[in-house]
């Protein structure tokens, strides 16, 4: 079997798993206990198929018999597998962090879990796409469940956030389809192949359409990453969505977006022959998207007073960081983008798990009322040793400061990819992004490290132990620490 087809195996497992959840629900409509464990097991199984598909793909790379002609000629590069793992494990973490509200939501946990699985299947499929048709379909499979999940919290704000996300995704979908049509018109094929793109860029008649099509495809997927100007839905959805759904948005949804963008840019990154000067317009478009997101996101984050607002705006800024190295259109840039996505996803998951622990002042759980402001985290490190240490570490990873070494290394990787291609102007602009980001995270950090207020400390300390949150938090921190000490662990898979 060919690696391009085998790489869809994880997506297939997750998709069949979603059907399974819905079927079991028909048999046991009342129980609310089995859905989450089953969903997590399915996602772990799907994750396990990623290396399996990989290994077989290695051994049988030359055998292309019985496959559709053109698709068989393209191999899926390994960064896509890393994104598949991020998407699937992120979805598992999302299931673990899913709030109790979803039990009472219409359809109960079964619908929520099935939708998470479908979204994961779509993201895994998007990362492995080798043609624009699969890409367009996969992205929608990843997106629509997320839209519904935001709404399913059932609150007024959540439904409105869902509408905002939906409208953005509809417009983006239309842009993506237009890009796909232009791509088809220019290349006479929907396959994302380096040979075809090379030929298309050589001909003067097809080059503008090809470049515009590529840019539109990237722009159409930009909303999944919350890139400016498709970021408006993000703050509302993060604030109003359930923490588990936010976890889905920051991992699976992002992985789908990054995977899609990588699939579209792959012909430019892995060319059979170097295209000189052909990509200038493309580089400019990517750079504008990336820089605008990085700066606007960071400035927005500076104005927040609440954790989820900060996370939402910093997501916009971090999305700029993910896209930035891709402007280099090199293998090193792609590795930097995927490495950055990995660090971002892990650190944000840890922060969400800390929020789910719900030990901030004044003793409120997130599900019970409005989320605490930063001031609610005053002296958090003293009150909750485990949560506090994880909070500080994850924030430092996002800010890119030691001891969050992995967060710093991926930032160095981004800048190295840019400087290697002579894009030092972007690297210097990125310095502004670094500092604004640090300033934004420092406020939450300062509150957590600050002194404990005199009263109310005991009330807050008595939070109930959320074992799921502890699991996500521990696993995320452990991975980040391992990657900080030994970044070479994932490095081979990023190329």
């Amino acid at each position: 079997m060919n690696s391009a087809v085998l790489s869809l195996l994880p997506a297939a497992v997750a998709g069949v798993g979603a059907l399974l959840v819905l079927l079991v629900d028909l048999v046991m409509p009342r129980s609310q206990l089995w859905q989450r464990p089953l969903g997590v097991v399915i996602l772990l199984a799907a994750t396990a198929t990623v290396p399996v598909a990989w290994t077989i793909g290695w051994f049988a790379h030359t055998d292309r018999s019985g496959l559709p002609e053109i698709l068989a000629s393209i191999g899926v590069p390994s960064p896509a597998r890393v994104l598949q793992v991020v998407a699937l494990l992120g979805a598992a973490a999302a299931l673990i962090l899913l709030g109790h509200e979803h039990r009472e939501a219409p359809g109960g946990l079964s619908v929520a879990v099935a939708l998470v699985l479908v979204s994961a299947a779509g993201a895994a499929s998007a990362a492995a796409s080798v043609d624009v048709i699969s890409l367009v379909v996969s992205l929608e499979v990843a997106t629509l469940p997320a839209v519904a999940l935001v709404a399913l919290r059932g609150r007024r704000g959540a439904v409105h956030a869902s509408l905002s996300l939906l409208m953005t995704s509809l417009v983006s979908f239309a842009v993506t389809v237009l890009g796909a049509a232009l791509y088809l018109a220019a290349n006479s094929s929907v396959v994302l192949s380096a040979e075809l793109v090379g030929a298309g860029l050589d001909a003067r008649t097809t080059r503008p359409a090809l470049l515009l099509g590529t840019v539109l495809l990237v722009v159409g997927m930009a909303f999944k990453l919350s890139l400016v100007p498709f970021h408006a839905w993000t703050p509302q959805a993060y604030r109003e969505g359930d923490l588990g759904v936010v976890a889905l948005l920051v991992t699976t949804s992002k992985a789908a977006g990054v995977g899609g963008i990588l699939a579209v840019l792959r012909p430019f990154i892995d060319p059979p022959a170097p295209f000189v000067l052909a990509e200038r317009g493309l580089v400019l478009a990517l750079a504008v998207l990336a820089v605008a997101s990085m700066l606007i996101g960071a400035v927005g984050a500076l104005r927040q007073t609440r954790p989820l607002g900060l996370l939402a705006w910093s997501t916009i800024g971090q999305a700029g960081w993910v896209l930035l190295p891709l402007t280099a259109l090199t293998d090193a840039g792609r590795a930097a983008a995927v490495g950055y996505s990995l660090a971002y996803a892990l650190a944000t998951l840890v922060l969400l798990a800390v929020l789910r622990r719900g030990r901030a002042l004044p003793g409120q759980h997130l599900s019970d009322g409005p989320e605490p402001a930063f001031s609610g985290f005053l002296g958090y490190v003293r009150r909750d040793r485990i949560g506090g240490a994880a909070l500080v570490f994850a924030l430092l990873v996002l800010a890119g400061l030691p001891p969050g070494v992995y967060g710093l290394l991926v930032k160095v990787g981004v800048l190295a990819a840019l400087t290697a291609e002579g894009l030092w102007v972007l690297a210097v602009i990125a310095v502004v992004g670094v500092v604004l980001g640090i300033a934004a995270y420092a406020r939450w950090l300062a509150a957590a490290l600050g002194r404990v207020p005199e009263r109310g400390a005991e009330a807050a300390a008595a939070g109930r132990t959320a074992y799921g949150a502890l699991l996500v938090l521990g696993a995320g921190c452990l991975l980040l620490i391992v990657l900080s000490v030994w970044p070479a662990l994932v490095a081979p898979f990023l190329h």
């Binding site: 930097a336 400061l401 001891p403 710093l408 160095v412 400087t419 210097v428 970044p487 070479a488």
Partner: protein, 492 residues
């Protein structure tokens, strides 16, 4: 292996103290931290004597190696850091700043020390940058958490200013390092220097100098320093002055001067001029400053002006002068900050506008050491400060060929004027503090009659010995730094 252990020991102990320090109590954590600092110093000594070199590929994607090695340029800084670390830990026996547990404080101190030692020993530019960044957060916590308890807003402002300025500087430096590494094909220090003065080479040097000038700091990028020094607890101020600023001077020598000498020559006159102006500016502010701690901080700006001027000359003598000035300033500023911190502890503030009892009478030992520290700071011959300033002026008089001599001579004259200002403000401080103008026991105020003794006495005595030793026997340091480093040759 020994070198790695010497760095890992304070890092591990520091991290453990940060997490579990509050449960340990002040005295045990001091012993633990002290053991870590002394142990690290011992291991470092062993590693340096054996001439050990560590070189392991760490991040293959970036070509980043975990490479440690020492040469004549880094050894002085390593020894200074190691000594200051021990002294700061010991000093907590006299005073633990309020704001948190002693364990947490000592943990942060050890982390700062470990990061700085790594930076000085780094044989890889990106590793140098990473170590540079390691120092950032513990120092930020030291200022923000254990800083001056009187003014919360000022503390927050000082801490975030320190964090953001340094982050700007280090990230600019990172971009420069990456461009340099791409140009040289390796992130190691020990590669051939970049030749030529093409626009790209000048850009690289500009980024490096700009980034490091914030850290050093060079006028007019110094505005983070007075706030941070004033607010930081005594140990934090000492670390800032003796260790963090030295990261700037060491980086300037190691990166632009040695790695791209020809392109650096294009920018050097501006750096030299900024250094000279910084000396005068620092002196002028000191003349009018009313807070003793802030005054010492501004005198640091002046001293770092000398370092910038020395570095910019680009000659072997200039580099030696820069290292000499840095080490001397490390010792002198540490001494002064410990003394002033002690005074602040005794008086409750360090304001010069309040009439005080003459130190000469109430605390003669403290007064005598303060006189010695301040006169060393103004560059009295026979003490450490003198040689650094003298060598700098000599180096500026004859800069490396290819540099506009007139600019350097002018800078040297400006700096000399600044050095004269130092005498003026030192005399002013001595008159106010040492001679005093309040009669003991006046207006019913209690007489502060706690002279320096015990640990504080021992710590200051060590620093005084160092200052005097370097003052009367400068060759100990000059011989060390004259050895050509195991890297690219210095510009002729």
């Amino acid at each position: 292996m020994v070198l790695s252990a010497a760095l890992a020991l304070p890092a591990m102990v520091g991290a453990l103290l940060v997490v579990f320090g509050s449960a340990l109590g002040a005295r045990p954590s001091r012993w633990v931290a002290g053991a870590a600092a002394v142990g690290s110093a011992g291991l470092l000594w062993a590693g340096l004597v054996r001439g050990e070199v560590v070189d392991v590929l760490w991040v293959p994607d970036l070509g980043l190696r975990f490479a440690l090695r020492a040469d004549g340029y880094s050894v002085p800084f390593v020894l200074l850091t190691s000594l200051v670390l021990i002294l700061v830990v010991a000093h907590t026996a006299y005073e633990v700043p309020s704001g948190g547990s002693a364990g947490g404080y000592l943990g942060c101190v050890l982390l700062v020390g470990s990061g700085a030692l790594t930076a000085f020993l780094a044989g890889d530019m990106v590793l140098f940058f990473l170590a540079f960044e390691v120092v950032l957060i513990p120092m930020w916590v030291l200022i923000g958490r254990w800083g001056d308890p009187h003014d919360l807003a000022a503390r927050r402002d000082a801490a975030s200013r320190f964090l953001l300025y340094t982050a700007v500087g280090s990230t600019l430096m990172l971009v420069g390092i990456l461009l340099l590494a791409h140009r040289r094909g390796s992130t190691g220090f020990a590669v051939d220097a970049v030749q030529g003065t093409g626009p790209r080479a000048v850009l690289i040097v500009l980024l490096l100098v700009l980034g490091l000038a914030i850290k050093l700091p060079v006028f007019p990028l110094h505005t983070w320093l007075p706030a941070a020094h004033t607010i930081a607890p005594t140990g934090g101020s000492v670390l800032l002055a003796a260790v963090l600023l030295k990261l700037g001077s060491y980086g300037l020598i190691r990166l632009p001067v040695l790695s791209a000498p020809e392109a650096f020559a294009v920018i050097a006159p501006w750096l030299g001029l900024a250094g000279g102006v910084g000396v005068v500016w620092g002196g002028l502010v000191c003349l009018a400053e009313s807070d003793l701690k802030r005054l010492i901080a501004y005198s640091s700006v002046a001293h770092m002006g000398f370092v910038a001027l020395a570095v910019s000359t680009g000659s072997q003598l200039g580099i030696q002068a820069a290292i000499y000035s840095s080490i001397a300033h490390g010792l002198i500023a540490s001494l002064l900050f410990i003394l002033v911190g002690g005074l602040k502890h005794r008086w409750g503030s360090a304001s010069l506008t309040v009439a005080r009892e003459p130190l000469r009478e109430v605390s003669p030992r403290l007064g005598a050491i303060l006189v010695l520290g301040l006169t060393a700071s103004m560059g009295l011959p026979g003490l450490a400060g003198f040689w650094g300033e003298l060598l700098t002026l000599v180096a500026a008089w004859s800069p490396a060929p290819g540099r506009p001599r007139s600019v350097f001579v002018a800078s040297a004259i400006i700096a000399a004027v600044g050095a004269a200002l130092a005498a003026a403000y030192v005399v002013r401080v001595l008159r106010l503090v040492w001679l005093g103008d309040a009669v003991a026991g006046q207006r019913g105020r209690p007489i502060v009659r706690v002279d320096i003794r015990g640990v504080e006495w021992a710590v200051t005595a060590v620093l005084v010995a160092g200052i005097v030793w370097l003052g009367v026997y400068p060759y100990v340091l000059l011989d060390l730094t004259v050895v050509a480093p195991a890297g690219p040759a210095v510009a002729p």
